[in-house]
Subunit: 478 residues, 2 copies
């Protein structure tokens, strides 16, 4: 039975100015987690959230995370956790968001003051954090308030986890989530994260997969110090010569990874999955526009989306220790470190990837017959994540999208990683849904970040509607 | 007939403290040409030289070179030119040196104050410029003074050309030399430059060849801006992938250049030349020590010296535009520029080298089938120089070495370039000799630069003796 949502929706519309004011207050707090001097503002933003939640009747705790690793004089901002509702007969949904933001300054090229919400005549609400992630975080608070003012019973128990260090690597959060999985988060039935974006600007999506990332260094050293190429060129084996040869053996221009065994780890494409790509609202023009060029590997949408979402890729990022300035320098660098990473997908186990990478790099180096010294090592690895989009968590969200936006959402994956997603899935053992509010043009980490008023207000309706469908959806998991 | 040199030699020994004081005064003037704030000191150093030369009875001029290109508020330091003697019956020798020095500061790790000449108990005279090139420049002045005080007739007319911008690319000097070739330098019979070093520490050498250098950039661009490897990895052709493949195709670990046609430009090794290498005072241990490792291409002296002096080499210096910092960054750089250079030797014409390089890089890029854009261009080229070591200029110097040091000098070439050498040869049409004063351990551009007292004092004797042999040597050129 379709839930009764008209009263709630109407109330959201009535309260829209109030909700925008709430966002304005939040954007005005420059909670930049990467800037040590802004740490008090990050803490203040956490307090703002906690106060608003308390005023709405939630049970709120500000949990300390201790000192910041490497900056021990600095206290990490607290995780704000909250519970709204504690009815054993209702499902319990755990939502995550973050209240810190990326750095921003007028001098970077912003057209408006980054910490003053500025709304233009097309309803674009400019301000740092508007879409990443203050708008979505406030979306949950607004949904609670609209239910209260509309006199509509809140359909689920809502657990909230809002951190203040997401833009700086979520310091300390993983351990916290694991620890609370059987405590504060113990009765979680499913998880919902609103911290990503639509694939385009018109069609909402639900995101069920993210690629992982294994980041490697290849260090090659020989001489005791940097050398002059006039004096030593022709007499010394040069580490750069070896390094560019190895880096050049990793992947070809069309993205084909040359490391044997890697492709065999990738889960085969099923007919079911293949059928999904055709309908996705995405065109090659979208890609050309975001790329700023026509230099794509594939010429069609399906292969492009699969290459981004469900196949691995390898990128060479750069070289440390070599000459990297403009101009000319006749140096033979003594020690150079090439950096590359592999975006990983099901079913590539990070340990298997490491093993194949180390073996291949070692073989390539041996082929060179070099007297230099090779060291290849993993800098960091984050695993891919793929959820079942047939879970009731997703079908609830899909119905909510159809109700609010009048269209079936695209089921998407993303090429990048949001590590906390996997952490929640592993710690709670429950299905995790990524339910974005903003669109592809929101410029999350760039200048002129914005959230469209429409995405914010309809997004609040969507979050509430999702919870209503969650309450009604049969407990069928696939 | 061997010239009478005992009186001169004895006078040099008698005046040695005075000559060291002269060097102390010169080192005390921090004439750092690369440091704008030190420009008045560079000018002061030029005046010091001019005053000393005038006091010795030379005809001296300080020639302005105009504004410094790119720093138009800055006047270039003058070229100090001088003539000592104007006897038509004598030969005229043009000598070159420079009175500016490399930057130096105690904070760089100097054990002593860099601009205070500090002599240790082994007679090592530490100070910036002691060996590069104030010691050798003052050597000529000291030779004049010792002749005067010994009452020995100066055997030649001496033309001097001392510049103040050598450590900053000899701004303006080339044009000056070309212009004066038929004026102030018109009666030059041969040129002598004392601005390089012995191959080792015990055996003097005469240097008759230098490699040239052609420096290239390979720029590859594609996307409109740097991309996130999570979002775009697998969908965009990455300029770095193309670049490392091309850089990896240029040369192998053992220094073999892969560019077809290049080896064919190299002058074949004659039996005469081959015979020279065996006697050179140089061991693989010397190379290992200066290299700081055992990572050599060749395992024997002869092939190592030939690889350094008479064969081309190719070094990859680095990449501009890619990630070059410590740590990890998941960037796909939009535009990357690889830098490499080729050390050139007879008979490689720079234009031929360019043509072969451009053709090869273009072919390698075409093989990749990339949609990215390639631009390969020459940054700068300096030609190799090789003089005839059988010219009377060299045989005079060889006899002088044997007289002063009691040993036949090694005939050496160098892997690096001293561009002014070729300029003097081309402008005057005369034989140019490189006659070093200091040894391989002098650390010219490093911290703790020094000149051994022995090399300085015996070097003064050598410069004077060379001029006496020049006066007696028959005019036979081969």
């Amino acid at each position: 039975m379709a839930p009764q949502l008209d009263g709630y929706f109407k109330q959201v519309d009535n309260l829209s100015d109030h909700f925008i004011e709430r966002l304005r207050k939040a954007v005005a707090i420059p909670s930049v987690s990467a800037d040590e001097a802004r740490r008090p503002d990050v803490v203040r933003m956490g307090e703002f959230l906690a106060d608003e939640l308390t005023a709405l009747g939630a049970q709120v705790e500000k949990r300390p995370l201790g000192k910041q690793p490497g900056l021990e004089h600095l206290e990490l901002p607290p995780v704000v956790i909250a519970r709204y509702g504690n009815d054993k007969k209702k499902r319990t949904i755990l939502v995550y968001g973050h209240y810190d933001v990326q750095p921003a300054g007028k001098e970077d090229g912003w057209a408006t003051e980054p910490f003053e919400l500025t709304i233009d005549d097309k309803g674009r609400m400019y301000g740092r954090g508007s879409t990443d992630d203050k708008g979505p975080v406030l979306g949950w608070l607004n949904a609670i308030e609209a239910h209260q003012k509309a006199g509509v019973d809140f359909p689920v128990n809502l657990l909230m986890c809002f951190e203040g260090m997401e833009e700086y690597g979520s310091e300390g959060l993983d351990d916290f989530i694991k620890e609370e999985a059987n405590k504060f988060f113990a009765d979680t039935d499913a998880v919902c994260i609103s911290d990503n974006y639509w694939l385009g600007t018109e069609k909402p999506c639900l995101t069920y997969g993210l690629r992982g990332c294994s980041y490697y260094s290849i260090e090659i050293s020989g001489p005791g110090q940097d050398l002059h190429s006039g004096v030593f060129g022709g007499t010394a084996q040069e580490p750069m010569t070896d390094l560019v040869r190895i880096l050049g053996s990793l992947v070809d221009t069309n993205g084909k990874i040359q490391i044997p065994g890697l492709a065999e780890l990738v889960a085969p494409l099923t007919d079911d999955e293949k059928a999904l790509y055709g309908d996705i609202a995405f065109t090659m023009d979208n890609l050309h526009e975001s790329l700023g060029s026509q230099t794509t590997i594939h010429n069609d949408k399906e292969n492009t989306l699969m290459a981004r979402w469900r196949y691995p890729s390898l990128s060479v990022h750069g070289i440390e220790g070599a000459f990297s300035q403009p101009g000319a320098k006749t140096v033979i660098p003594a020690k150079v470190t090439g950096k590359f990473s592999i975006r990983t997908v099901p079913n590539m186990e990070p340990e298997d990837v490491d093993r194949l990478v180390f073996k291949y790099v070692d073989e390539q180096f041996k082929k060179l017959g070099s007297k230099n010294t090779l060291r290849c090592f993993l800098q960091h690895a984050g695993k891919w994540w793929v959820a079942s989009p047939k879970h009731w968590n997703f079908s609830s969200a899909a119905k909510a999208v159809e109700r609010v936006w009048g269209v079936k959402p695209d089921l998407t994956r993303e090429g990048g990683s949001i590590p906390v997603t996997l952490t929640f899935e592993q710690a709670t053992g429950k299905n995790v849904l990524l339910l974005p509010m903003g669109s592809s043009t929101d410029a999350a980490h760039s200048i002129n970040e914005k959230l469209d008023k429409r995405n914010y207000i309809e997004g609040i309706k969507l979050l509430g509607a999702y919870l209503h469908y969650v309450a009604e959806e049969p407990m069928v998991e696939q």
